[in-house]
Assembly symmetry: C2
Homo-oligomer: 311 residues x 2
Amino acid sequence: MNVTIIGLGLLGGSFALGLKESQLFDNLNIIGVDKNPDHAIKAKELGIIDQIDELDEAIKRSEMVVLATPVDIMVKQAPIVLEKLPEKALLIDLGSTKGDICEAVRSHAKRDQFLALHPIAGTENSGPEAAFASLFTNKMMIICDHELSDKQGLELILQICEKFQMRVSYMNSKEHDLHIAYVSHLSHISSFALGLTVLEKEQNEKNIFNMAGSGFSSTVRLAKSSPAMWSPIFQQNAGNISEALDAYISKLQEFKAVIDNQNTSKSYELMEEANDIRRVLLGISKTEIKDKKGKKWYQYLKDKFLKPKSA
Amino acid sequence: MNVTIIGLGLLGGSFALGLKESQLFDNLNIIGVDKNPDHAIKAKELGIIDQIDELDEAIKRSEMVVLATPVDIMVKQAPIVLEKLPEKALLIDLGSTKGDICEAVRSHAKRDQFLALHPIAGTENSGPEAAFASLFTNKMMIICDHELSDKQGLELILQICEKFQMRVSYMNSKEHDLHIAYVSHLSHISSFALGLTVLEKEQNEKNIFNMAGSGFSSTVRLAKSSPAMWSPIFQQNAGNISEALDAYISKLQEFKAVIDNQNTSKSYELMEEANDIRRVLLGISKTEIKDKKGKKWYQYLKDKFLKPKSA
């Protein structure tokens, strides 16, 4: 099986390594395409890919093509790659925005050979050196607009997800972009802005180095993320992100007013509400259930929601 | 040696466990004081303390007393405990704000028996169950206004820090509060506000659970922190935090304008600037140094700054 990975950074590289480790395919041959020749050579050296090739040559002999470039590039590449894609081959993307790419191939004659994916996985590092085989293990794969894609392609991806031990969720691409603006894109901007605020204030860097605890490090971690990856994401999802930023800024202003007014009971209350994120991230529902002996249990969101609605 | 810990939560409990593990003192006897009897009993059960006692009884037979209560309580307790402290005994606090407590004991006859400490260590968890012996290992201990404290007390703390493998830094208490507003308190509020924004928007919790990656989890981690601990910190350091919040909000507004205007080159630039936080947190200075062979090195901030200025 020939698989072409376009874009040999953290995501594309990790997907390649994951496929290799899965041993799902006999004679797996991974072809790498990257406009940066240093990345391609490095990816080959690191054993991420088996060979380097030009885009057109690579596509022609592939059963699966993976788009893992920045999302602005992806949107341009998707229709072009589809055009050249052999019959029955599958094109997937791993981008953080789904609306624009789905729109770009909406009326394409080969639309059903494309499947839009967003693996909820990543680190603040980039480039082929940042790739590792287990990046996707136990993570969530969001599959968008799957009803527009061929069933066989979807089956192949579900097989890969199972091998990667990924959970799967199905969403509409436009809904995806709205929710991901809050749950992922906003936290990147909050972190970038925090990094900038502190760097600007603390001209003497030793104060940051000396006073930064694990709390600051954790909150500011995403500020290390790649601008090349994130700048086009912010552009593509501008409307949703702008809305999310408005909500975030007004929440910060509420906090500031409470602090300025020394309203400690209200600040306590706000924080107590925010604490609820612990329960939600653990996947525990608000609803208590009683068993036959009257013992109370919390229902896990996992059980309730995570079975694919359809496949 | 009798040591009294007042407040048996994450910090007080971990300090007690660290002292036990250090084996620095013969016949170490740790007396626990907590207004919550459940905490005191739990701390005894967990082997954090050796006995439970009332405040007055505990102080009078202690060579060291540690304040690890919320900072509003601490400020009231410090002068009272000092009053009752035996001659030559030492009182320390482990609070996140230093201005108010130093002010509260400024003119106290026994001021030199008090040493103001801020260990840059913590987790989002609280209570005696959250305590662990290595919380302070390899962390920074900030010692404030040490020139007002007795040299013997400082020596004892430096010994403990060495055993805990802590780095030590000296600061003025007012300066401490300004800088910590940016490097610690602000990141807590940014995280609380992020948690609230997302919880409010996503009425359907499965969206958060499904779409939250390690990035969101990391940025929102501090939103799990204890309101009882943080509400009085925000009150005491309100002026500095308010200033930091203004700077943060205006940075977010700058980001929002850039995104609204689809100014991708400017958003790239902002993120690239923010990326510099990676270097700063690694403790690498901006200045390159060349060695004799012309090879370039970065100087570590650690080497340059982290030796105590005086002791």
